[in-house]
Symmetry: C2
Subunit: 250 residues, 2 copies
């Protein structure tokens, strides 16, 4: 398995390139519109052609690169099936593995940050890697105060779907704001400041007290991502840069 | 490959169990005397018999479990060859891979924390794992004020032997004092508070200013570890617990 972690600095988003060397198929989990050209350059340097993009949820803090990558490379768009987005080529759901060549990705339905959020797990004797999206991050969790977010639901998702995995399982989140790149299930169970060794009641109290600012891109990112990363009409001038390069005809 | 990270809380030491499922051979990197019974229990629960212990250096903060594990399970003791310890069965040196069944461990001569320190690298298309010992830790480095430690030497070891590895390489350190379990080369290059994006001069200044306390076990741990984890005569009463269970005849 070929693997690369890619970073988009404006929204502090990690995208993940996963490729099967035997078949040449490859996917990017949570690509960002702003870094589509960079990602295609990485693929080219590795001699790969993008087969799929896969999103964990409808992001509110950046525009997905899914639609643009499809236009530029012919990749198919995979999203949680529950979102029922017309722009999606492949619906993913828990219980049905998604294959990137010979690599099996297990979707895990993990609502709470959003009501349709899915994480993706590679669990073989050789690799145990969790792409935790915005559900579980390094020393934190995704906010639950927008997009049908619900703290109790997120607590249960993390406890039941993530914290039951082996401690050694590698955790690759969708974001980190302090340039951390990786964690493990054991580490987050022990020391995550929001949910590590916390009761449901403690977790809800912590989440209720976060007082986070209004997400600066949510008003255009959510409608844009409901179209798999289209640039919507109402996008403010300061965020138009990545959109202007994008041929809206695709 | 079967892999487990094991923790000894008194010295905050991580030991690493690596096993080759094809041959059944297995090793523990940096085992601790205090947790020998726990480690043997883990091995038993996995149906494994210990083949090797491997140390990264002569530790000053805990007694190695190498000698005791040999006595209890028949494992062979591997240490950096440069230490020339009479108790060692297998001398390791950079340039010669050490095989745990079909798994190849590459010793990397990385002095600076001690003058004989070696890290161990697994670098295959499937796994890139660095067991960085006390040279590189998560958001820090090993102290350089004892045991022939030298800041300039450590800086060069990390820059030349570690920071030239791919960013995705997983970093498994010998210690963490905040229950963090893992990092990557990319993360440490970017944000390690001692050496990340620091010049040699900045690094030396940081290391010179650490003002760390005198290592509480060094006076017995170093002579004990020069015998691969023998309990020396001068061990203070409060640290005798793990020694009293140990049959000194072995």
């Amino acid at each position: 398995m070929l693997f690369k972690q890619l970073f988009e600095p404006d929204s502090s988003t990690y995208s993940y390139l996963i490729a099967c060397p035997e078949t040449g198929e490859c996917a990017i989990i949570d690509p960002v519109l702003d870094t589509v050209e960079r990602d295609l350059g990485v693929l080219q340097s590795l001699g790969l052609k993008l087969t799929y993009t896969i999103d964990t949820h409808i992001h509110a803090d950046h525009l997905s690169g899914a639609r643009r990558l499809k236009a530029m490379s012919g990749s198919k768009i995979a999203y949680p099936a529950i979102d029922e987005l017309p722009c999606v080529d492949i619906g993913l759901e828990e219980g049905t593995a998604f294959k990137i060549g010979k690599i099996e990705l297990q979707p895990l339905f993990t609502p709470g940050h959003t009501d349709h959020h899915h994480a993706y797990l590679i669990h073989t004797p050789v690799h145990q890697m969790l792409f935790s999206g915005d559900a579980l991050m390094i020393d934190g969790v995704g906010r639950t105060d927008f997009q049908s977010g619900d703290s109790k639901t997120l607590y249960n998702s993390i406890q039941q779907k993530f914290f039951t995995l082996p401690d050694e399982t590698l955790v690759y989140p969708c974001h980190d704001y302090e340039h951390r790149q990786i964690s493990t299930i054991g580490q987050e169970k022990k020391r995550n400041k929001h949910i590590g060794e916390k009761s449901l009641e403690e977790f809800i109290e912590i989440m209720d007290g976060l007082n986070l600012p209004y997400p600066r891109k949510i008003d255009f990112a959510v409608p844009g991502n409901q179209q798999c990363g289209e640039c919507p009409e109402n996008i403010p001038e300061e965020y138009r840069g990545p959109c202007e390069k994008y041929d809206q005809g695709h």
